[in-house]
Amino acid sequence: MSEQRHVTIVMIEDDEGHARLIERNIRRAGISNEIRHFSDGASALHYLENDHSGPALNGPALVLLDLNLPDMSGIDILSRVKSNERLKRTPVVVLTTTDDKVEIQRCYDLGCNVYITKPVNYESFADAIRQLGLFLSVIQVPEVEGNG
């Protein structure tokens, strides 16, 4: 478990409320990993690709991605992450309101690891996030290559 502590959860979510609810429920599931929250695509991408503490240059990470962002589509971020040599093994969990079949297929085609539809019913939502927390506690995240 101690190793998991280093995995940073990168949450890309433009809705502050959703972000807060997700964070609360992850914490309630007993996950204490650092959660970095970005509410737009550009700053999230900058962090992922260029930041010194970001996953490309440092430490393993897990991305929670919302598809509806103000400045770009979550699909673009997903394809950028999955086409980046250093980031492509980083697990991406798409967490969004869209339950369109075509959209879901596209995400998996692009290399998304898990696709979760945010249920409107809060109990289900909280349940889903807590289960995601359980999932995060057992998931093995690859180390970034060429990194000490």
């Binding site: 409320g17 019913n121 909280a126």
Partner: protein, 501 residues
Amino acid sequence: MTAEPRFLAIRSERAFNAIVVGIVALGFLTLVGVGAYGISVMRENIIFTRWVAHTYEVKGAISDFLINDERTETARRGYLLSHDTVFSDSVATTSARAGRTLLTIQQLTIDSPVQQANVARMRALVAQQQQAIQVSMAFARGGYSDTSNFYHDAGVDATRQIRALAEQMSEQENNKLRVRESGEQATVDRLIVVAAISSLLLIFLAIGSVWVILRYTRQLNTSQRELATLNAGLEDQVATRTADLRRANDEIQRFAYIVSHDLRSPLVNVMGFTSELEAAAKPLTTLLERAEAEAPQIVTPEAASAVRSDLPESIGFIRTSTQKMDRLINAILQLSRQGRRVLTPEPLEMNRVLQTVTDNLAHRSSELGAQITVEPGLPMVVSDRLALEQIFSNLVENALKYLQPGRPGRVEIGGRRQGVRVVYEVKDNGRGIDPKDHDRVFDLFRRAGTQDQPGEGIGLAHVRALAYRLGGTVTCQSALDQGATFRVSLPARLNAEGPVS
């Protein structure tokens, strides 16, 4: 050519055509008039001719009379010279013949008082002559001794007078003949004029008619060509409109989809934080209970009622409202999803499709004690199975939902073919719909009548959207407490469409 001058051109052309047709019709009427006039002139001519013939007849009779009279005189002289009885016989026959002829003349000239008078005079002269003849002949036979009469023979004088009178009568007839012949000539002249006018008119009419026919034919050809062009244009227009409609429809679908998604996001927050509030209320309640037990003086009634009733009540309202909103958004989403689905037309045995629908609702209907009947031998249709199942399922479900309490429910499904379309009916004996609500019931989130059944007002909106997509319509016929009939009219053959982008 723009529409307005074109319209004017058509109008002036029409006026012109009307004038031409009017002139031609007038020409024909004149021709008929001229013909009638010609007939009357002809009749006049016939009368004149008859009169001329009559005059000739009279003249003939007069000369006949004169000849016989002369012969009588000649025969008398012959007798007087030869005493031959042949001559005396001849006198008798010719004078008798002359008398008959004079009678004929009298009859023929019954219309002419002058000639009648002449005939009377003639008769007197003939009597005079006869007497002279009798006297002279008796003398010649030797029966008469008195020769004075012989030498003063009145016969010669009478004969001369008869001759003069006959000439006068003949002249009289000649006068008549001149008048009648000139009249006849005049009618003939008139006939010639009439014939000439008719011929001219005929020529003009023929030219006019041919011209009108040519003109019409040319116009007809032109309009036929224009019609063909227009027809082709129309098809293009229909195709353009259809594309426009489809694009508009797609846009609405996309809009509904985006809206429903974007509405969902804040809703997640409202519901989530409501739950958080509810959760937060629990420790507050515990705190309140502890305070009441340990330090009742710090508990105000406001605080107690806020925690115990205001907070849960508010949270309850927020919750039911957000749940309702969630259902509405889901309905829009479902509609938009239905609109995005690609239709796959296939030949459908409607009785089988409806069997599936009623089987699925059999449990509901037996619970309600209602009976669903499907008319056997419904017309087939080539359409989308899922859409049709949805349409009829919603309609039958609706019928079961709004039964009249106390009346055993009956739902009848029928159908017939109407040209290139098929019409299916779902008829119930339920509570019915007020005619003023007939349009409203098809609107999304709108319902009619007593609101005693659960529902969001989605079913019929869905039915209409699906019917439209299938190229059909759905109408309602009902009155309050009279049951309702929903009529779905569909093209018998739905054309496969390209996927909606």
